[in-house]
Symmetry: C2
Subunit: 294 residues, 2 copies
């Protein structure tokens, strides 16, 4: 039986798993994310306990994913200073002696959703997580998109709504980008309490859907994904979905003619098909595919 | 010698060409775009004069490019009413009895630039034409992007500049989208004269570069192309390029860490490598590739 290692590397926790070639989970554990010096030995110990063929990593970013770059396979400008510049791919490769494939956490989730989840059978999808930050993973022609660096759609500009009591946004780089206006911390800063404590009829959600609809409309016009999947902690407020769909249709204003739009985007802007498992399953898919491409 | 037909179908003129398998031009002609009843017979007559193996068409849009759709291969919601719903692929296929491959004019141009022009050797690029409208063609993983419909990046929202005397924009669908704010007609409406009559030091160009930098920054964050190529009539004002680069770097504000950004995007936001030939050469590439994929 072939086994594969999967690591969902997050800013607060590391999820480690071993799966077989069918994606059946054999072992899973979670470790707090401390410094590389503290956390790496515990992770390599875990993976050494299994005869895994390869390791896939879906990692917080930004990452250097350019095979031609000297920093290929490392974490770049993260605010988590202990991990800045850390060569996570080569570290695991030398510790475990197996192929390692890295992508962003959101590209891994998008890959899993496109192969096994809400975008199964499609050649393209956008996966957006709305939580501590806003990040987007992108599959086009069946493969994760990197390009110059990798997509960072959470940082496109938002157009502040007239009724927004905090029109400036909180992103240290861009102020009122999507992350600055609609992430969990932006919600909490604006309303004084975390999103999970705001009732469904609170004006926070109408404003939140305004910004996320801007993001969806911009994505549809920019690169026309076949499905938009919205996950992450903030999207646990399910009342957001119908409002985002309605406002996205309104922003497009009849310009994109397609049955999905005529249908009110009901089957187009959707929840993850894999629940909270997209990330780890995407990391597993990266591991399975190490031999296909680096 | 294998010959291929190429058609660059525009709203005002049709450019028809016959090229060999190396892309050498053997014959070229231009016809005004009238109704399909008037223009199609003249076009099929031209192509019947050569033993072409296949025909590639880069066409004004929007187009139905979904092979599963009943309207596949037709022009959809164009304001050019005589062509709305016209099944251009099946019309040429039955008239000429050869394979026909259709894509948007801008995807064709992007394809040519990625194979032969400014993005040669890269897996991805965005080609934007700034003229009567603003359109974007997108290559990712070496192939044109369609997705749900096809990219229409000219219609993403612009953030009006405080100094803009026409902050509302002229797009009938979206008001202040990029096309509504920065197309040739928007320039002319705002300043009362066509862009070609405005001197290099006119404030029009500073404002124009503000909006096109918004477009470039949004593209880089959304799907991270390896090159952005700006063509079309408005970009004949070459003084735009350094200003767009500078303002794009400023909008990114240090968030995207890459040598291309550190270099001020000098070799990243560029003119077309094929001059005004991107469209017809892209149509030729579509013809050459009919056998690879529909």
């Amino acid at each position: 039986m072939d086994l594969f290692g999967a690591l969902e590397a997050g800013g607060t926790k590391m999820v480690l798993a071993v799966l077989d070639s069918h994606g059946t989970l054999l072992e899973k554990t979670t470790l707090p994310t401390r410094t590389p010096e503290e956390t790496m030995p515990a992770m390599t110990d875990f993976f050494r306990g299994f005869p895994i063929r390869s390791l896939g990593i879906g990692c917080f970013g930004p990452l250097d994913l350019n095979p031609a770059s000297p920093g290929f396979g490392s974490i770049t400008a993260t605010p988590k200073l202990a991990w800045r510049g850390y060569p996570i791919v080569s570290a695991f490769r030398s510790a475990l002696g197996i192929p390692v494939r890295l992508d962003t956490d959101v590209n891994a989730a998008a890959l899993a959703e496109s192969v096994l989840g809400a975008a199964r059978g499609l050649e393209s999808c956008l996966y957006v997580t709305v939580g501590t930050g806003i990040g987007g993973g992108l599959i086009i022609h069946g493969k994760p998109v990197h390009g110059l660096t990798h997509p960072e759609i959470g940082h496109i500009r938002a157009v502040p709504a007239a009724e927004d009591p905090m029109p400036g946004g909180i992103c240290p780089y861009h102020g009122c980008c999507m992350e600055g206006m609609a992430s969990g911390p932006a919600l909490e800063k604006r309303w004084g309490v975390p999103g999970r404590d705001l009732p469904e009829n609170h004006p926070a959600w109408d404003l939140e859907s305004t910004y996320l609809a801007q993001l969806c409309a911009s994505a549809m016009l920019s690169f026309s994904p076949e499905k938009i999947i919205l996950g992450g902690g903030v999207m646990q407020q399910k009342a957001l979905f119908p409002r985002i769909r309605e406002k996205t249709v309104s922003l497009l204003n009849g310009y994109i003619v397609h049955p999905a739009v005529e249908d009110g985007l009901r089957d187009y802007i959707v929840e993850p098909g894999l629940g909270t498992e997209s990330g780890i399953l995407g990391s597993w898919l990266l591991a399975v595919r190490t031999e296909e491409e680096s």
